[in-house]
């Protein structure tokens, strides 16, 4: 652990810290250094994720040509791991928006180091999540029917359907996240433009939208950024609430519950923060960003996880309490089956991952230990996937009519598509790491002592 202490062991608030960046130039160099220079490790990682994506594409091709029968979904479990993973990725996205928008609005300083990567994660997570509503369709080639386009057949959609709410909630969320992400990137792209030549300079130049860092530009920029932050903040609450209604609006026992929106939002932030830890921890190490992202940030993320883990644990308990207290036999049957039936392994593993494992972070020592952070975050990621698995699968498997009860298990096609979706996410993320600064240069500079007294940015 000694070597790790050398890497991460400083608090940026401490002016005497050894690796503290000293100048804007060093910031530029440190952050731009990894860009556009593919290392062997990066190429290897890229090969793996692209391979995963190709495999996923093949699996999807099988599903399109042969029909949904190649997946494991069956009566009465009509939604399988596609929907599980859809909810999982949507949830992941939320932490990014929380960190970049809400923490911005409340002037939380530790946001600076991690927000760019979190925001990228949000955009890519939503892009990954968006795959699944299309992938899981029986006739995915008709997916455009979800959109209100004018047509001579007078076809229209059903605005009563929670899936339709999803379409609007998620497309809004994706649009806002992407715009917010891009707005945040503009000054950094300009820096990158200034440090590059030739064609690359032209490309980045076009993307920088003529940014020169003038006072007037900064004035408008900060206003716009604040506006988008304020615009994005409520989406953290609304989008996952709407996603939870996919379940809560159906009369299915175990789904039909008013606790779902807050419970889903808390779970989303929980899983998202854990995912930020999981993604940034290796990047910090590989790209040597320890002056900008370090244990101080990770500890704060761990604290977020601790809070939301507590909320989730409460929600789990409350689901059982209400199922018992309401004396609704269908609710109670579902919840007791979840804990004791065929999928009990998933339930108890989920309880361990989401309620028990994060408890180690109550110890300051564990919270600041990179290995503990990395491992527990990975456990949380597994746990949050299982949570959605428990919700989606077990409620439908033991629905109202006992005669229809049956079990579900995914097939190689579904697993292949999941692997492919992870590859899709990884591909975008790796491309991002090499083409855009994954740590916000301009905002880091705000934390560095200005080189000339009284000078601005």
């Amino acid at each position: 652990m000694a070597s790790n202490d050398a890497i991460y062991g400083y608090d940026p608030r401490d002016p005497a810290a050894p690796n503290r960046p000293t100048t804007y130039g060093q910031v530029n160099r440190d952050i731009i250094r990894p860009l556009l220079r593919p290392t062997a490790l990066w190429l290897l990682a890229m090969a793996i994720v692209v391979g995963m994506m190709v495999w996923g594409g093949f699996a999807w091709y099988q599903q399109i040509t042969m029909g949904m029968g190649v997946a494991g979904i069956t009566h009465p479990v009509m939604w399988g791991v596609y929907i599980v993973t859809f909810v999982f990725w949507i949830g992941i996205g939320h932490a990014g928006t929380l960190i970049s928008a809400i923490l911005f609005l409340v002037y939380s300083r530790w946001r600076t180091g991690v927000y760019r990567a979190s925001e990228a994660m949000t955009v890519f997570a939503v892009m990954t999540a968006l795959l699944f509503p299309v992938l899981h369709l029986g006739r995915c080639w008709q997916a455009y029917w979800f959109f209100p386009y004018p047509n001579q057949r007078q076809l229209w959609m059903n605005f009563k359907s929670p899936l339709m709410w999803d379409v609007f909630a998620i497309s809004t969320y994706f649009t806002v996240s992407a715009v917010f992400f891009y707005v945040g990137l503009v000054p950094d792209i300009a820096i990158f433009r200034d440090h590059s030549k030739g064609l690359i300079r032209k490309v980045y130049g076009a993307m920088a939208l003529g940014w020169h860092g003038t006072d007037r530009q900064w004035h408008h920029y900060m206003a716009a950024y604040g506006f988008f932050a304020a615009f994005a903040a409520p989406l953290v609450l609304s989008v996952h609430s709407v996603v939870s209604w996919d379940f809560a609006m159906a009369p299915t026992a175990g789904w039909h519950s008013t606790i779902f929106p807050p419970y889903f939002v808390a779970g989303a932030i929980f899983s998202g923060c854990a995912m930020v830890i999981s993604l940034l921890m290796p990047m910090t190490y590989l790209f040597k960003w320890e002056p900008y992202v370090n244990l101080w940030h990770f500890e704060n993320l761990a604290k977020m996880c601790l809070l939301t883990s507590g909320i989730l644990t409460y929600a789990y308990g409350m689901e059982y309490f209400i199922a018992w207290y309401s004396q609704n036999p269908y609710e109670w049957a579902i919840f007791s089956w979840r804990a004791t039936g065929d999928y009990a392994w998933a339930f108890w593993l989920m309880v361990f991952c989401n309620c028990v494992a994060p408890l180690v972070w109550y110890s300051k020592k564990m919270r600041t230990n990179p290995w503990s952070l990395f491992i527990v975050a990975a456990i949380i990621n597994v746990g949050m996937w299982l949570e959605r698995f428990n919700i989606v699968i077990s409620s439908t498997a033991h629905n109202f009519d006992p005669q229809t009860w049956a079990l579900y298990s995914p097939t190689w096609v579904e697993v292949g598509v999941l692997i492919g979706s992870a590859g899709w996410f990884g591909t975008w993320f790796l491309l991002f790491c090499k083409t855009f600064p994954a740590v916000a240069i301009t905002e880091i500079k705000e934390m560095v002592a200005p080189p000339v007294k009284g000078a601005g940015h």
Binding site: G67, P76, N158, T252, Y330, D401, Q403, W405
Partner: protein
């Protein structure tokens, strides 16, 4: 009504075999449009299908050159119904494995070559003084004379699931082999010794329908009580109110003991002293394992209930005492002089096994020159090999099979002359003495087949050009009927002036009579109407030795595969076995205690061995067999019988020797087996989840004693549903006195609804198969069925509570507040003004959200695009789209039929309103149901059954707490074991829940309800 297949040659369009991807159509306009055919409009042909030992009148639905469905013929004196077997006959009609034309030694030949070959073989046999023999199933009517003229009088009419023991017993008791007639309609007590009379192979749809009448307090102020004496409670037995699990083979002892006790009670013991001489209550109790009190209880019911009738054993009772059992039931019926039992059942000819064995001996002795083998049951595969039928057929000088389907029997014959089936041929059947059903073609032959009558006539003509009768088979049948009809087909003076009439042919009036007879589908002779009592001769019944031995093998007939003739029908394979939910395979039923002793569980392979052979079969742990008995269905395990039958299941005949009863009738029962766990898993596929409905209100019970006096009359209340569980109604609703917080959709003219009487339902599966036929439901096969992807829109749920079996057919409930409608993002499912949850299949994108939201599990998803191997595609209903992959589907109350009837009444100007009478049996399931358990109607019409039955005290709606306001309501089953109050309805332990573990033992009850039941 049209008269024949002539029109069908002018088919308007041919459909490419590849239905889904690139439909190629060749459109040929009619040169001369046939008068009876309007494109897009079905033509109905009354005809008769033969389903084994039974025949049934139906209407064949003809569309554009092909028969697409069968509907109930409501004109005959028999019940209006489409039994499952009639639908399976329809699918057999289009079997992809049906022969394309005649075969000689396996090679294709032509009719022009095959018929002279048959004629010369017969001529040679006659010249050599050898016999011309006939072997086949039951045949009656005009064809029998033709067969006998070919064989010189002798013919074997034998069915594997036949009634030869009953015929032998009739010979013994009454002196004539004609079977007695049963009329269950007025019976207050039905005592069955194993006959599967509620949709099984025994008695056909007639007994099922009669029993439904006897059962319903609406038809008289009584509820028939059904007692079963048998070691196994199967699909028919599931309806029994009392199950006396007598040891296999002891039924005759019990029957005779009951007869004795009843005779004593009735004071007629002396009159039947001879017949009752062998009766011994104590010995019967010892042999059967029943207590003497139980036997006394049966006798008590039999003697005291107003009209009691005993039914013989069928396959289940065909033990070493088969004839004794049938005779004992006859005596039992005579003792009470029940009006439900009279002369004039099926008159035969019925050949016993002894006749078949004599034929086998002749064949082996080489004294048979030509053997003619009929279409129908595959006797070589069905009967144990010890009978030596296959070798005997091969020993014949020449053998001709008339089978149009491949089978082991057909393969043993040298030449195959495939004959036309019930939808392609003329004919007549005497189903009960004096009641004749007539048959007419309802479409052109699907393959190059010929009518059996025409083949025999052509052969006759080739043998004896001068002596053979003139005319074709159709003219022979017509002439025979016109002759028999006599004054029913009068000659009028008008005939004399019709120049076209041939001098020797029928007159126009006679032809008109014949056409109207064909349109009605039956002829009732005066002898049919009068019930004649039966009088016994003197004699006595010889009981066989009491059965002994460890594990008895109980052989039974599965309601769909039956004697194996439907094994190659995908519907017969994929419709779940009513009792176990098993599809596509054989399974052995083992009592839980025996299974524990053997160390096997569900789906474990069990090796069953006798000294005749052994086989491995998967175990279904089942509470409804005796502990000392295992039960295995016959009719499976074929080779060379077609793509669906081959390799599916095991053939129980491998375990059996040549078993006969005392009078030379076939005995299926009597084998003892050694069972050992194989230690491997079988490949069984059950579509059932949990057996227990966990007190969720899917199956309900009322006390029969409360229902009987009042029926379903709205004013009277036959007592509360027993043991109702569920959530109490929201207090706010109660206070406001409203149905729901939200307005129900408006249904200005119609709100279509179904009523399902679970007391009448026997689980026979006719509705489920009728739905497959009407709505183009694909068959998915074993692999996909194992994944739970069968497509049936009607699921006949089977629940077990307190040892009672409940059948609850479940289809889309067409909810008023439908959870599926609001969740569909593209409005592929929506609420119509008629109250239907309509489906727009080509709008569906396949989110499957509707299926997740549906509390009834009524929606089915097309996981793949399923194809219909040619010519099964010809059966597809052109009014219903065949769905492709990725689309959700479900019952829509046969919306295409609703559309048709609405259009018809609009065109006739009936004030835009379809009357109730035209709706009652509109849907395919309601039309088919032989028990009259399903009735369709308009809930806005107070007189309709669905509306009025909702006021019945038996009315219930499953899981009403979900507040979906379904259009389907159920009527509770009547029970003789429940008191009329709403108490004492503990829900029994679950049996063999495939998913294990405890479900909520937390069922709140309404005030005054039962204690919360405990579940494992």
């Amino acid at each position: 009504m049209g008269v024949g297949g002539g029109a069908t040659a002018l088919t308007a369009c041919g459909i490419d075999d590849n239905l889904y991807f690139t439909p190629v159509e060749t459109i040929l306009p009619y040169v001369v449009r046939p008068e009876a055919v309007t494109p897009g409009t079905p033509t109905l042909f009354a005809t008769t299908v033969v389903t084994g030992a039974d025949a049934w009148p139906v209407l064949a639905v003809h569309r554009e050159g092909r028969v697409i469905n069968v509907m109930a013929n409501r004109q005959t004196p028999l019940a209006a119904a489409v039994p499952a077997a009639a639908l399976l006959e329809l699918q057999r009609h289009y079997s992809p494995d049906r022969f394309a034309g005649p075969l000689d030694a396996g090679a294709t030949t032509t009719w022009d070559a095959a018929i002279p070959k048959l004629a010369s073989a017969v001529a040679k046999a006659r010249a050599e003084g050898k016999k011309v023999a006939w072997l086949g199933g039951y045949r009656s009517g005009t064809i029998v004379g033709l067969i006998q003229s070919m064989t010189g009088g002798e013919a074997v009419f034998f069915e594997g699931l036949g009634r030869d023991a009953e015929a032998a017993a009739a010979e013994l008791v009454f002196g004539s082999p004609a079977l007695p007639r049963y009329d269950l309609m007025g019976a207050h007590y039905v005592l069955s010794f194993g006959a599967d009379f509620l949709g099984g192979a025994w008695g056909g749809a007639g007994t099922q329908s009669q029993y439904a009448m006897a059962r319903s307090a609406n038809h008289g102020n009584f509820v028939a009580r059904f007692a079963l004496v048998s070691p196994h409670k199967g699909q028919t037995g599931a309806r029994a109110d009392d199950w006396y699990a007598a040891a296999a083979g002891s039924e005759a002892h019990v029957a005779l003991a009951v007869a004795k006790l009843v005779a004593e009670k009735k004071g007629v013991a002396s009159a039947f002293a001879g017949w009752l001489a062998g009766a011994d209550v104590a010995a019967a109790a010892a042999a059967s394992g029943l207590s003497e009190a139980a036997i006394a209880e049966i006798a008590e019911h039999f003697a005291t209930l107003p009209s009691a009738v005993a039914l013989p054993g069928g396959v289940a009772g065909s033990s070493a005492g088969a004839t004794a059992l049938a005779a004992a039931t006859y005596v039992l019926n005579l003792v009470t002089a029940t009006p439900a039992f009279s002369a004039g059942g099926y008159p035969g000819p019925i050949s016993t096994l002894a006749r078949l064995e004599a034929l086998v001996a002749d064949l082996k002795a080489g004294s048979v020159g030509v053997l003619l083998v009929d279409d129908g049951c595959d006797l070589v595969s069905l009967l144990p090999s010890e009978f030596g039928l296959a070798e005997a057929i091969r020993a014949a000088g020449a053998s001709f099979s008339f089978s149009s389907h491949p089978s082991a029997t057909q393969a043993a014959c040298q030449v195959t002359l495939p004959i036309s089936d019930a939808f392609e041929d003329w004919g007549d059947e005497e189903v009960v003495s004096g009641l004749w059903l007539v048959r007419q073609p309802s479409g052109a032959p699907v393959r190059d087949t010929r009518s059996l009558g025409d083949i025999l006539l052509a052969t006759w003509r080739a043998l004896d050009p001068a002596g053979a009768p003139a005319g074709n088979w159709h003219e022979r049948v017509r002439a025979a009927w016109i002759a028999a009809a006599g004054e029913m087909a009068p000659t009028t003076t008008e005939d004399a002036v019709v120049a076209d009439a041939e001098p020797t042919g029928p007159t126009p009036a006679q032809l008109r009579w014949w056409e109207s007879t064909l349109a009605a589908g039956f002829v009732a002779m005066p002898s049919y109407v009068s019930a004649r009592p039966l009088t016994p001769r003197e004699g006595q019944i010889t009981l066989p030795a009491a059965p002994s031995g460890d594990l008895a093998l109980h052989v039974y007939a599965q309601p769909f595969r039956r004697d194996g003739r439907y094994a190659n029908s995908p519907w017969a394979q994929e419709t779940p076995d009513p009792m176990t939910g098993q599809v596509w395979g054989s399974f052995v039923l083992v009592h839980p205690a025996t299974a524990a002793k053997l160390g096997v569980g569900d789906n474990d392979l069990l090796t069953l061995a006798t000294d005749k052979g052994s086989l491995d079969v998967g175990v279904e742990v089942h509470p409804f067999v005796r502990e000392d008995t295992v039960a295995l269905a016959l009719g499976d395990g074929h080779t060379g019988a077609g793509r669906y039958a081959d390799g599916t299941g095991v053939n129980v005949a491998a375990l059996l020797g040549a078993q006969r009863d005392g009078s030379g009738c076939l005995a299926w029962q009597g084998a003892r087996v050694r069972a050992t766990a194989k230690g491997a898993k079988a490949d069984l596929v059950s579509t059932f989840g949990s057996d227990d409905h966990l007190g969720r209100g899917w199956a309900e019970v009322v006390a029969a004693s409360a229902w009987a006096p009042v029926g379903d009359a709205a004013a009277a209340h036959p007592g509360d549903l027993v043991g109702r569980h569920g959530l109490p109604m929201d207090v706010r609703l109660q206070k406001a006195g409203i149905e729901d917080f939200y307005e129900l959709p408006e249904h200005p003219v119609y709100r279509f609804g179904l009523t399902i009487d679970t007391d009448a339902c026997t689980g026979c599966g006719a509705c489920a198969i009728a739905c497959y036929a009407e709505n183009n439901l694909p068959v998915v096969g074993k692999v996909k069925a194992k994944q739970g992807r069968e497509m049936g829109w009607i699921r006949v749920n089977r629940y077990i509570t307190d040892g009672d079996v409940h059948f609850v057919p479940l289809m889309c409930q067409q909810c008023g507040h439908a959870p599926c409608e609001s969740v569909c993002p593209v409005l592929a499912t929506y609420h119509t003004l008629d109250g239907l949850n309509a489906m727009i299949y080509n709008r569906c994108v396949g989110t499957r959200y509707c299926a997740n939201a549906c509390p009834y599990g009524a929606r089915r998803f097309n996981y793949h695009t399923y194809l219909w191997p040619e010519p099964l595609n010809l059966q597809l209903n052109p009014d219903v789209v065949a769905r492709t992959m990725g689309v959700m589907e479900k019952c829509t109350f046969c919306v295409q039929r609703i559309r048709r009837v609405k259009d018809a009444y609009r065109d006739r100007g009936f004030n835009n309103r379809v009357p109730d009478a035209a709706l009652r049996k509109l849907t395919a399931c309601a039309d088919a149901c032989p028990s009259d358990a399903i009735t369709f109607g308009n809930l806005n019409d107070e007189a309709s059954v669905p509306a009025s039955s909702r006021k019945s005290g038996r009315n219930y709606i499953p899981i009403p707490e979900i507040r979906t306001f379904p259009a389907v309501n159920y009527l509770a089953r009547a029970s003789f074991h429940h008191a009329p109050a709403a108490h004492g309805a503990g829900h029994g332990e679950g049996h063999g829940d495939g998913h294990g573990e405890g479900h909520g033992d937390h069922h709140p009850t309404e005030a005054g309800g039962a204690e919360p039941p405990a579940h494992h």
